[in-house]
């Protein structure tokens, strides 16, 4: 037990005994006199006045007060019941607010089970339940539709700007979804590159991860390629959004790794580093894909969530092409008219429904 607190409590209890009795209801007095060492409210812990809900950001409150690093004082004795005379009013010797920690009643002794032939310890068989009008009492198996445009942005440079989008949508239940991913970059000549469109079946396989399988179509101003796709997508520990997908067709295999992390600067101002890496088993000069590590598209986006669903951002984006096809004059995977390495200042909008 926390010694200083005990002292304070005793002191305050003494003070309490001196309070004019008119202030305390009659049976409360009995309880007080009988068993309590509680203090009357002495102070109000200052909090945050909440005049404007939009200003609720970043009020971390009592982070320190209840942090895990600090053992909460625990109560060493189980609660007893004390019979208080004479009105027959009882008051549990309730743990005081100063020390009523979690372990207070840790050892409540429970009456043991006493099964009999009439009331066995085994559960009865589970009956078949017929819900009236076949109407389940709750609808926990609904289908949802969700669309997220993570990138909807203009990438600016002196020699012309690019429009880039990258989004996902899904339709389905908690466990099974139809998942669509699409991304592409359009330059000022209306030439589209990096057109990657995927249609996947998605199945939840663990707490944070889904397995996805389906097809990918490279469809833009360049030649069309089709792939089969298998991958995983989810939330890695430490809140990293990640996905890893393998693609295959008659000409070879490819891989894509994506990751992003939301760093909360405030509750509405969020810095998101993001990267997408592409790998190919063979060079495809017509599409600007190189064997091995072929390209990266990455950005550092700073968004402000005016609404959760509507967040404009500024960003620095970089796309780079590497390997044998990096300098091919054809439409490259990531940048149309520009060189293999392209660092741009970017404005965009993140939005979802």
């Amino acid at each position: 037990m926390n010694k200083p607190y005990t002292h304070t409590a005793r002191l305050l209890a003494g003070l309490l005994a001196c309070l004019p009795t008119t202030l305390v209801p009659p049976y409360a007095q009995t309880a007080e006199a009988g068993t309590h060492t509680h203090a009357m409210p002495k102070k109000t812990i200052s909090g945050h006045a909440m005049s404007d809900m939009d200003d609720m950001d970043d009020m971390d409150g009592m982070d320190g007060m209840e942090d895990m690093g600090k053992p909460t004082p625990s109560l060493s004795h189980p609660p007893k019941t004390v019979q208080a005379a004479p009105s027959g009013i009882t008051k549990t010797s309730a743990p005081m607010p100063h020390d009523n920690a979690m372990a207070g009643a840790a050892h409540v002794s429970l009456p043991p089970l006493s099964p009999s032939a009439r009331w066995p310890a085994t559960p009865p068989p589970v009956p078949r339940v017929h819900y009236i009008h076949n109407m389940p009492p709750v609808m926990d198996h609904n289908t949802y539709f969700h669309i997220l445009m993570e990138q909807l942005e203009g990438r600016y440079a002196a020699d012309g700007s690019l429009f880039r989008y990258s989004g996902q949508a899904w339709f389905g239940t908690d466990h099974d979804k139809l998942w669509i991913k699409s991304e592409g970059t359009v330059d000022s000549h209306n030439t589209m590159s990096d057109g990657d469109h995927e249609l996947l079946y998605d199945h939840a396989i663990s707490t944070y991860f889904d397995l996805q399988a389906g097809t990918r179509l490279d469809l833009d101003s360049g030649p069309v390629r089709a792939w089969g796709a298998v991958g995983v997508q989810g939330l890695a520990l430490y809140f990293f959004d990640v996905s890893a997908t393998a693609y295959f067709n008659a000409d070879g295999v490819a891989g894509k790794l994506e990751g992003s992390y939301d760093l909360l600067i405030t509750n509405r101002l969020i810095l998101q580093p993001q990267a997408e890496l592409n790998f190919y088993s063979r060079t495809d000069p017509a599409r600007g894909d190189s064997q091995g590590f072929s390209s990266i598209d990455t950005g550092l986006r700073l968004r402000y969530e005016f609404k959760r669903k509507l967040a404009p951002y500024i960003a620095v984006t970089y796309s780079g092409n590497y390997g044998a096809a990096a300098n091919t004059p054809s439409v490259s995977r990531t940048t149309a008219a520009n060189g293999p390495e392209d660092l741009r200042f970017t404005f965009g909008l993140r939005t979802w429904y």
């Binding site: 049976y27 100063h98 920690a101 009331w119 707490t207």
Partner: protein
């Protein structure tokens, strides 16, 4: 001492009612006098919080969509007889009540009598008790009253409860009141939003922290680090991130969209209950919220808790108590000074509060205290036990939770409480060490012994589980639609053991049967209908399965219930 039978209500003289009418005008505007031109009683039109002077046994309740003006602009809400909250019904133990519920809406409805021990077909859960009340139809509920106290009623259909379809029930004891008091008010707390419940569900599904704007951030790292040191703060944050959990996850839906109401009135509108100094005032608190726990206090006025969930408890004097969704607490206060007192009900996540006033005359108000700092979850809430205990404990001791009992970590379950502890004597997150006397479950002691003295014959252990990231809730890692019902033999007495593996409180409600909380009071264990299970904790309660039928059993956070934290209990 007044006669136990003469239970006065908070009734005002007509003159006083008119003086107070200004404050009540907004609400009265929505109380269209109903045209229930039938022989049956229409519950009387009363100012909010007031209890009818007399009990009645036959009622006509019209459920319809009515514009209400909580937030200024009118908003359609499902109401009873045009009133939000629904009219307070006063009944008398021993009577048989008849409730003719007529549905004038274009969607199905239902009324569930929360905490009432009625036959299963009168319990009002569509699919389990009956087929619901179709548009234009009237359903008559009829059941005998074998209990007394404060209860409430609400819709069990289509999230109508989250939109305003709830009201208070006061049942007079057959033998007369055991407590003496001079005034009597109901205080219905609720969370009001103009966002559709279906949109709230979608938003939580797609981003579970959608309504949480008080997370720990880079900006808050520096003040935290200055106070606690860089390394401890960093370690703590990494520990939470390493579990994909957020220590600031207190309430899923916050004051960012909720306005917290007291008897249907905003904090600004300031619901007022009048008293004459020296009177003993009974306040019947009912938490009719969809998603919000409140911490209630009346600065300057200690409260003597006398009843919980309709059942009398030995008086406990407190400064503050937490009320979970669907719980009720009755208390008596004795304001002696001719001054106003603020009834302050801050939400557990401290993003807002419901507020009202007790005053000798209308129009008075007292200072509104600042809200407390918002709580932060700890490893205790993750079921890692208390740090104090962890000190001398090795990993072997931790594995005392039987393997067979633990739910799987799967798509629907994010955590297993490795060391669930008894938190009955813990007032709860955000209430420890606040310098006030705060009620705990360990304080509750029934005034009369349990009606069924038998020890339990068997034990049913259930884990409360969920995956915050996918926003799926359930028991034992399964949501309702994937799980079997829980069978009970008619007449058997069983122990339910609940282990909360999630890091949030869940108010667990069993329809139709009492839940006798095992808090060490033996035969005088408190009898409840809704029990808060604190995060990382384990508690048990006894149930006598004395009424046959299909009973709903669920978390009363409505969006947890609707997304799977629900089971059908079959007594046969």
């Amino acid at each position: 001492m007044p006669s136990p039978f003469a239970t006065p209500t908070g009734g005002l003289s007509r003159r006083r009612f008119i003086t107070g009418a200004g404050a009540l005008a907004g609400l009265c505007a929505l109380r269209n006098p109903t045209h229930a031109a039938s022989a049956v009683d229409t519950p009387p039109l009363l100012p909010a919080g007031h209890i009818p002077a007399h009990s009645a046994s036959t009622f006509m309740l019209n459920v319809g969509h009515t514009p209400v003006h909580v937030l200024g602009k009118p908003q359609m809400a499902p109401t009873v007889n045009g009133s939000m909250p629904a009219p307070t019904l006063r009944w008398r133990e021993g009577d048989e009540v008849s409730l003719h519920v007529h549905n004038t809406m274009d969607e199905e409805t239902s009324i569930h009598w929360h905490g009432l021990r009625c036959p299963a077909d009168m319990d009002g859960v569509p699919g389990l008790s009956f087929g619901g009340i179709a548009p234009g139809q009237t359903f008559t509920y009829r059941f005998p009253l074998r209990q007394s106290g404060t209860y409430w009623y609400h819709s069990h259909s289509n999230m109508q409860e989250a939109k305003g379809l709830y009201g208070a029930i006061v049942i007079d004891p057959k033998e007369g009141e055991t407590r003496s008091y001079d005034r009597d008010y109901v205080i219905v707390l609720s969370d009001w939003s103009d966002v559709e419940p279906s949109d709230i569900i979608k938003n939580l599904k797609f981003q579970s922290d959608y309504y949480t704007f008080r997370q720990r951030t880079a900006a808050s790292f520096f003040p935290d680090a200055r106070r606690d040191g860089i390394l401890p703060v960093l370690k703590n944050r990494l520990q939470w991130a390493g579990m994909n959990m957020s220590a600031t996850d207190i309430s899923d839906v916050s004051g960012i969209i909720y306005t917290y109401l007291m008897n249907g009135q905003t904090p600004h509108a300031n619901w007022t209950g009048l008293f004459t100094p020296g009177e003993r005032v009974r306040l019947r608190f009912i938490n009719a919220s969809a998603m919000t726990f409140y911490d209630i206090r009346i600065p300057g006025l200690p409260m003597t808790i006398i009843q919980s969930d309709g059942n009398d408890v030995e008086p406990v004097l407190v400064d503050e108590f937490r009320i979970g969704v669907a719980e009720t607490y009755d208390c008596i206060v004795t304001p002696t000074a001719p001054q106003a007192y603020t009834i302050f009900a801050q939400s557990e996540d401290r993003t807002g509060y419901a507020r009202g006033t007790l005053a000798p005359r209308s129009g008075m108000s007292a200072a509104i205290p600042p809200m407390d700092p918002r709580p932060v979850r700890t490893m205790l809430d993750m079921g890692m036990g208390s740090d104090a205990k962890m000190g001398g404990m090795d990993m072997k001791a931790m594995s005392h939770t039987k393997k067979a009992d633990t739910p799987p970590l799967n798509v629907e379950n994010q955590n297993i409480a490795a060391m669930p502890v008894n938190r009955l004597a813990d007032p709860g997150d955000g209430l420890r060490n606040n310098g006030r006397r705060v009620l705990t479950y360990a304080d509750l002691r029934a005034t009369r012994p349990a009606s069924d003295p038998r020890p339990p014959s068997r034990e049913i252990t259930l884990h409360l589980t969920g995956n915050m990231e996918r926003y799926i809730w359930g028991f034992d890692g399964r949501k309702f639609s994937e799980a079997e019902p829980i069978p009970l033999r008619l007449g058997e007495r069983v122990r339910f053991v609940l282990i909360n593996d999630t890091m949030m409180e869940h108010p667990v409600h069993l329809h139709g049967l009492w839940s006798e909380l095992e808090n060490g009071q033996g035969a005088y264990n408190p009898v409840k209908h809704t029990l808060i299970v604190q995060p990382g904790s384990r508690l048990s309660y006894l149930v006598s399965a004395d009424t046959p039928g299909l009973w709903a059993y669920h978390c009363h956070l409505l969006y947890h219930m609707d997304l799977g934290m629900f089971r059908t209990v079959v007594v046969s």
